[in-house]
């Protein structure tokens, strides 16, 4: 028997009838999906299918694009994040994001991680030091940088920079972490490290990752969401979806017939 209440308790994010437009062009078409707490959810699909736009809608960073309009709901903590009275600063504290390219701020390693803490009003230096250390440890970067926290972050390697960006996002203690193709600019070894890290992090955080690397999605995700031309075609537990997709389109994508 399907226990609806049990499932509801586990979900952290519910997307309902969600549409997105760039000007007149509809990018997201009636998206309905749930994100499960402390799981890794991978949004997959060919380029231009709207997966990144959907991800960027979850922390409303896509508001930055001036002609982007949405309708429908994304419910987080019982509230539509598109409601008028939503505090964006608080929303983005709880839903962190890491971007495709590693983009350290033009400051030291320490200041990069501490940046979010200052925004959210943590002024006590000792407490800040502690959180920075913890965040860097969680991002598996501490051992590599502990002696050079004052070094400019740009001097780190690409993979280290990306882990720094993850540490920076973790420092403000989010509940959900959005990852927008976080390894597409990295070499295989750095990618491997980030993948291990993501799996590790899902014990404490809910992870939503956009990737067009199907193998990566299969390797690390618990749930998979397949999008095609702005529509969510199919979603479900990764193991089941990979083995027996319900829709022909999904099967074609998994078999590499569409990309």
């Amino acid at each position: 028997m399907f226990n609806l209440t049990a499932i509801r308790e586990q979900t952290i994010l519910n997307i309902r009838d969600f549409d997105g437009w760039y000007g007149q062009k509809q990018i997201l078409k009636n998206i309905n999906m749930d994100i499960y707490k402390n799981k890794i959810s991978a949004i997959i699909g060919p380029s231009g299918c709207g997966k990144t736009t959907l991800l960027r809608s979850i922390n409303r960073i896509n508001d930055e694009i001036s002609d982007y309009k949405t309708s429908g709901e994304i419910i987080f903590e019982g509230k539509n994040i598109y409601d008028k009275d939503v505090d964006l600063t608080l929303l983005r504290k709880k839903i962190g994001m890491v971007f495709q390219k590693p983009v350290p701020f033009p400051m030291s390693i320490y200041d990069n991680v501490a940046f979010g803490l200052k925004i959210h009003g943590i002024k006590d230096k000792r407490k800040r030091d502690e959180i920075v250390k913890l965040a860097l440890k969680r991002a598996a970067l501490w051992d590599e940088v502990k002696d050079e926290l004052d070094k400019p972050a740009r001097e780190l390697s690409g993979g280290q920079q990306q882990r720094l960006c993850i540490a920076r996002a973790l420092a403000v203690d989010p509940e959900i972490l959005l990852l927008d193709e976080p390894t597409s600019a990295l070499d295989p070894i750095a990618t491997q490290k980030i993948e291990n890290l993501i799996e590790h992090l899902s014990e404490e955080y809910t992870i939503i990752i956009v990737t067009h690397n199907l193998a990566q999605a299969t390797r690390i995700s618990d749930y998979m969401y397949f999008m095609y031309q702005g529509e969510l075609i199919e979603w479900g537990p990764t193991r089941i979806m990979v083995r027996s997709p319900k829709k022909q389109l999904t099967e074609d994508y998994l078999n590499g017939k569409i990309s």
Binding site: N59, I61, S66, L88, T89, K93, V103, F105, G116, I119
Partner: protein, 288 residues
Amino acid sequence: MNWRDVKDRVNKTIIFLFAFVGIVTVISLFIFIIKESIPALTQVGKEIFTSIYWYPTYDPPEFGMLAMIVGSLILTGLSSLFVLPLGYIISFFLYNYANSIERRVIKSTIDLLSGIPSVIMGTFLFIYVSPIIMKLGAWSPGNLLTASIGLTILSLPYAASLMEESLSSVDQSLKESALALGASKFTAGFKIVTKAASSGILNSVILTVNRVIGETIVVLMVSGGAAIIPKSLFDPVRPLTAAIASEMGEVSVGSLHYSALFTAGLILLTISFILTLISKTVIGGKAE
């Protein structure tokens, strides 16, 4: 050697010669100015830099340029004080807050402003702004404040669009990373993007200052023209550019006065050369 090689070599030579024209021009300009300044530099000597008495047509003539050098520097400093913050604020608004309509309106206004001939700006200032400044207490229709306003208006489009370009060239995801941490638009734009764009902004600063120091027509029309060291905003000044422009047409070629005006040009050229050098050094250091 076949025909194609010959053609290729000919093309290459022609292109090289044309490309070389710019370098040759700059070098010959420098040589020419230095050569023409030598008589004044040797015959008048250090008095050029230490005396404030510029009476080139008296008998005996005096060629002290200190007042004009100081005038140029003060005028440039004051105008920069106005134009640089203002230019940054405009660029920051355009980059960070403006929607597409505001952006279009401001950008086309700036383009329009940058196309206004400086002689028209000078006339406008002389007819409309000067009387107001005089009511405020200036005793000469041309004065430091009016000239600074003119220079500010003239160089504002330059400063604003250069700075906006530097801000816009910063990777968009850097700004979004700050926003995604909960930073306000202001913090993201000011603390992160501006910092990341700092070398470009510094370059804009130098280019703008360079432009201000070399501007001639407006200062010729509304700076007052008295070669004194100004003690207040309402005093007239005579910057080096104005002296060259107004006197060059009347000197006899080869005279000491003629040579002294070239010395004034050499001083201007040196200042702008140093500024360019500073900006190249700083930006070069940053890029590494």
